[in-house]
Amino acid sequence: MKKLAILGAMTAAGLTAGAASAATLDDVKARGTLNCGVTTGLVGFAAPNANGEWEGFDVGVCRAVAAAVLGDPTAVEFVPTTGKTRFTALASGEIDLLARNTTWTFSRDVDLKFEFVGINYYDGQGFMVPKELGVSSAKELDGATVCIQTGTTTELNLADFFRANNISYEPVPIETNAEAQPLYLEGACDVYTTDASGLAATRAAFENPGDHVVLPEIISKEPLGPLVRHGDNDWADINRWVLNALIAAEELGVTSANVEELASAPGDNPEINRLLGTEGTLGEMLGLDADWAKRAIMAGGNYGELFEKNIGENTPIGLARGLNAQWTEGGLLYSPPFR
């Protein structure tokens, strides 16, 4: 009986965990560090370098939020999470923000009770084949063996695609991207399928990348974005608008190089003025000071700078902007106005 009572109390304590940490902003400020969930390692998106410092595109989001909220882009405690532990880590309050190339889906948003604060990378599932196979379209892959990561949305997308096109395939289940590379190279499967960014990174690591082609078909939508817990809208707003500030900064031509100068005095463009806090009270509305966006941009640069530095065409991963270009340049990045 007594044990039951203790168990009950523990359950109650667990259930109130969400409610008690409602004011995430205050918790973060009191703690002095942002607990940011990242992947245990994904090329270009998040990985520690030789000195043990986290680097990458998702890491850039964490640092921007930390800079905006705490004034210090290094005040981040990175909590590595796997695909299996990421959602519990966020729900239990172990992390304040999950920036782990997580696909925004209906059930994750609604059923798992999370709040996606935006999209920082538009991905989609693609196919890679050896050039010598002579295939130019995924529709010619009838009867192919396909290496695929189990338990992911890519597995379901693949089944849908092949059924819709009425062709057959033989799946070769694998656990991680790291396992897929040698299997594909040894010829255990004709085709490797995963998110297009992952394919590009994988191909870039091959000894002879030119021997392999990524087919033009993109068969799914994988909008990847940072997310927070349901129930603390103020905290979600902060994260959403930090991300938007990075995107808007690129659109407005604000970079880490000129942000200091632009923020020193009000300029000609009123939106830049509002963004950088030289005009209006946007920072105050968020519960931050006027310089929040300036610090976020200085942390790692605007969206375009982050992209170029971590996954852009000059890096070994060599991703083109594609869908991730500004809306003015034919992409999908479109920040609501700062007004």
């Binding site: 667990g14 965990a17 090329v43 990985a47 519990t88 880590a89 870039a204 070994p316």
Partner: protein, 431 residues
């Protein structure tokens, strides 16, 4: 008689023929090869086929080792240096060795601390593992856990000292009351230890920087160091717990017996990986928000519970193998339960259980890599995560996994060799 045939015998040898070397086919390497490699057509064929395979493996693997590149700083550079030749990029090991051994967050200038702790571990293990080593060294063994904690985690030296004083105080209190009854002694020991820790808490609070090493939080532990910590701590803790559980399972007191049976059967019926998930994610739901119960501690508790259930079963096998007469002989000498168990039953039962215990210990040590699944960066976690995901080293497999295999093989093979040696040492049955 001898001279009767003197005229009919041409020659009679009256000295020994000097010893001759045996024929070439009956000595040395040739004899050995005839007996072991070519002792029949079937074995000859097997030998030749094996030789062919060994030749193939060596000739194809040798250039890979010989051309190995040790100095580049990324895979692309390494491939450039190899220029199309077959060769290994061992430079991933030379560049990331510190991450493989210590994880990527352990402060660089403190690497000497876990290294020293590792070598002191060998010193501390000597008197436990080799019966002939001087007994005084056991004192160092007793101090070692506290010393290692201080070295690896850092912080003030007062914390491990207070912890140790608690145990010392508890021991003396136990001795004081032991002659009244075992239970009284145990109770007094626990009370004394708690009092020392409680008082010591004020001391550490008052001087938090006395002889303090830079504190390293558990989250920053990683690499092979984490495997070693988990392996050693869990094996060391699960042995005594396993013995207690095994004795408890044989107890005549139903409550103790059933608690032990249920515990052992439950733990053995659950995969280790699920226990680790419980430690990592489920506990976080139950603990009040804000509490950060050390992750390594949680994992140590779970692995120890798991291993102790298995060790309990191994030791129960040893207990069951003892002839009934041994128990009766102990009783007839007038020994009480604690004495007969300690002096007669356990030494024999443990000796029988050595292969099983070592089996569990080796398995446990290798199972510590499972923590990579709950996003801890042990050796395997470091390889799977940060190193293979870095833009420099994405795509290097054989070198990294080969290194992991090599390191684990050395440790597991030494454990197994030691246990065989120990069995020979303890063999008293003159078979």
């Amino acid at each position: 008689m001898s001279d009767t045939h003197a005229q009919s015998v041409a020659f009679v040898r009256d000295t020994m023929i000097p010893e001759q070397a045996p024929p070439a086919s009956e000595a040395g390497i040739i004899k050995w090869m005839r007996e072991n490699l070519f002792s029949g057509w079937f074995n000859t064929i097997l030998t030749l086929v094996s030789l062919y395979f060994i030749y193939q493996i060596v000739t194809s693997a040798y250039p890979w080792f010989a051309n190995g590149i040790w100095t580049t700083s990324s895979l692309a550079e390494c491939r450039e240096a190899l220029d199309g030749m077959t060769g290994a990029c061992f430079s991933v090991l030379t560049e990331r060795w510190n991450q493989l051994l210590f994880g990527f967050q352990y402060p660089n200038d403190a690497y000497w601390r876990p290294t020293l702790a590792f070598f002191l571990l060998i010193v501390a293990l000597v008197p436990v593992l080799y019966p002939k080593a001087p007994r005084n060294m056991l004192i160092f063994t007793a101090i070692y856990p506290f010393l290692a904690f201080w070295l690896i985690w850092g912080g003030t030296i007062l914390i491990p000292i207070v912890a140790m004083l608690g145990f010392v105080g508890g021991y003396f209190a136990f001795k004081q009351f032991d002659h009244q009854s075992f239970a009284m002694g145990l109770l007094a020991g626990v009370i004394a230890a708690v009092v020392v820790w409680w008082v010591g808490g004020f001391a550490t609070g008052a001087a938090p920087n006395l002889l303090a090493l830079e504190a390293v939080p558990s989250r920053d532990m990683g690499g092979f160091m984490l495997n070693m910590i988990l392996g050693t701590v869990c094996v060391a803790l699960s042995l005594p717990i396993g013995i207690v559980l095994a004795l408890g399972r044989q107890s005549h007191m139903p409550i103790i017996k059933w608690i032990c049976v249920i515990f052992i059967e439950f733990i053995r019926g659950v995969p280790l990986i699920t226990l680790l998930f419980v430690a990592n994610v489920v506990l976080a739901y139950f603990l009040p928000p804000g509490t950060n119960f050390d992750l390594i501690l949680r994992v140590i508790i779970m692995i120890t519970l798991f291993a102790s259930a298995y060790i309990a079963e191994v030791i129960r096998g040893g207990l069951a193998a003892l002839p009934r007469g041994q128990y009766e002989a102990a009783d007839s000498l007038g020994l009480d339960y604690a004495q007969s168990t300690r002096l007669i039953i356990m030494p024999q039962a443990l000796k029988i259980s050595i292969p099983g215990i070592v089996n569990v210990a080796v398995g446990l040590f290798k199972d510590t890599v499972l923590v990579s699944v709950i996003s801890m960066f042990d050796l395997v976690g470091m390889i799977r995560g940060p190193i293979l995901a870095s833009t420099e080293w994405n795509g290097v497999y054989w070198e990294l996994w080969g290194f992991a295999v090599f390191v684990f093989f050395i440790v597991c093979f030494s454990i197994s060799k030691y246990s065989q040696w120990l069995e020979r040492q303890l063999a008293t049955d003159h078979r």
